[in-house]
């Protein structure tokens, strides 16, 4: 028996944040993920993380830029959580939010544009 599809009216509205890491040394994807989850647990807690739908969609290690998914309603909390990050993988760094898009396609387009400019 097939499961019915999830109604589109109940789907959550996501926001895709284009983030940039500012640091003197390069940060790897795994280090970034570890630090984001650590900061999220410390500042938001398990309940707020589950409601925010936090996920690192893409990360470009050369440009040190990535795309972070969050819920529409938890945008402000996630912004605070990212602001309170001071170290990533024992290296001094901070994360800035460059832009926020409503669709993944647009934010990926933005990321690819910055990749091309870098070349």
């Amino acid at each position: 028996m097939n499961k019915k599809p999830f109604p589109s009216t109940l789907k959550e509205k996501n926001r895709y944040m284009l983030i940039k890491i500012h640091s003197n040394q390069k940060i790897s994807r795994n280090q970034l993920i570890k630090e984001i989850w650590r900061s999220a647990f410390e500042n938001l807690g398990a309940l707020n993380i589950s409601e925010s739908g936090l996920w690192l969609m893409d990360f470009n290690e050369e440009e040190q830029k990535g795309i972070l998914r969050t819920n529409n309603k938890k945008q402000q909390e996630v912004r605070i959580m990212l602001t309170l990050i001071n170290n990533i993988g024992n290296k001094r760094a901070f994360i800035s939010i460059e832009k926020v898009h409503g669709t993944l396609k647009k934010s990926r387009k933005q990321l690819k544009i910055t990749e091309k400019e870098g070349k």
Binding site: H22, N24, R79, I80, L82, T83, L84
Partner: protein
Amino acid sequence: MTKKFHDLLVHNEECVEFGEKELGYFKVHGKDVNYVEKGYKTDKNKINILEAGDLKRNKKIIRTKNADVLLNPVEPNERPFDTSIAEIARENDVAVAITLKKLLKYRGTDKIKYFRSLQYLGKILRRRKCPLIITSGAKEKLEMRKPMDLASIAHIAGYSKEEALETISNNVEKINTIKNDRK
């Protein structure tokens, strides 16, 4: 109308350049600020930022001539700030500021207590309509943040999005106009 974002207190010229060129601030105040950690000495030609202490010191600061900003008035375990201080501060054109640098210092339960103290501070300041300013207090460029990220700290104190933007724009510009009027 686009807002002009300010970072009121940095301790390094490198931060001023980094903030204005890379992070998008309209002005990062470095040399035109007189930061007083102990004592009450003010400079009438600069923006005077005095570090808060106990209740007695805070009451004296808001009555000091040429004092512009009272910095970090609350701690995780202490709150030497009340509605009467907020009211007198508003009458004497003294703003209250908090730094990101102090917030990043705390961990665990101390951080939770400090968040609670900021919520207490936010309620009093909104009640008495005393302006709040948020600044990085950075000594190096990796301690700075973008304007929107810095303003989001006001959300911890219970401010709305529009009020949070005021903390890094209009409230700082008001200090500059008051300073110019005094001259």
